[in-house]
Subunit: 175 residues, 2 copies
């Protein structure tokens, strides 16, 4: 909580501290498989020096989508990203308000129609048509307060915003 207040005050004093750049690099591993390496990022005015090792996340597809079922697929990884983000976006403000959270769980489900991915229809979008998030919270706060925190998390979650609103993505082929 003290850390969060410190961060907020630092950003108020020096707005550029709030600018972050996150990065990844990935490599195809045959079939539907790939792995993504995550380590460096820029933020709070400098390149990060605290991560000593890289994280590796793997992707694959189930057999019905022509993969070997070795890892979650890409759209399932989106649900993980949203879960991770909605967790932090709920827990930090709860802690700042002195609310003791015992447990926080999200279950998510998203609808996707393969007509877009398979290029069989221009009327069907390739991506998620809808995502439904259900939250289960145990905390020493009345239900109204928990509902308010959940709404706050929904409004401030970077991944929620990334999904609900358009993000410009540029794609460039290198030599």
């Amino acid at each position: 909580m003290d850390q969060l207040v410190g961060t907020i005050n630092a950003v108020k004093g020096t707005p550029d501290l709030a600018k972050f750049k996150f990065r990844s690099s990935s490599r195809w591993d045959g079939g539907a498989r790939e792995h993504t390496t995550i380590k460096s990022f820029y933020g709070a005015g400098q390149e990060d020096a605290t991560r000593t090792e890289s994280f590796v996340l793997e992707g694959d597809e189930p057999a019905v989508l022509l993969g070997s079922n070795a890892a979650p697929n890409a759209v399932e990884a989106v649900l993980h990203a949203l879960s991770s983000c909605m967790t932090v976006s709920f827990i930090y403000p709860a802690a700042a308000q002195g609310i003791n959270v015992e447990s926080l769980e999200y279950t998510m489900e998203g609808d996707l129609d393969l007509h877009g991915f398979l290029h069989l229809s221009d009327r069907v979008r390739p991506g998620f048509q809808n995502i439904r998030v259900k939250a289960k919270v145990r905390a020493d706060a009345p239900r109204e307060k928990i509902q308010e925190l959940l709404q706050y998390a929904t409004n401030t979650s970077p991944v929620m915003d990334t999904l609900r609103n358009p993000v410009p993505v540029s794609v460039e082929l290198q030599e």
Copy 2:
């Protein structure tokens, strides 16, 4: 390649086979940490029965974002999801066209300003402001064909569409 053609013909004959539902469930592990469990999905007209074990993905934050640096954070997981999706969305049509891909790599970088997440400004969105994708491909095809495949992948990738265009996300607090 035969499998892909089979899938396309099956979907053409029975459009409902293209309807998928992907799912996740997550649990907060203290601090900024959570883990997401991924197993069941619905698709091709039935609940999947091929996955015998669950996949687990973990989330955390670096110290500067008040975490313990145990796992990639949520927005880094978004870059992984996009990498995984752009891999499949490039490789499948390449295979269908008989192009031999030797290697495929993506590097990605996204800009994020914490003013939104910290609720310090209503004018700064919480999510990614931009994502830049760079692709490096080695394949037995002329550069124009590779560029065409990359454009095709960009147009049909479910995660690319999920990021570039708005997705309705509902959030419900359970009892």
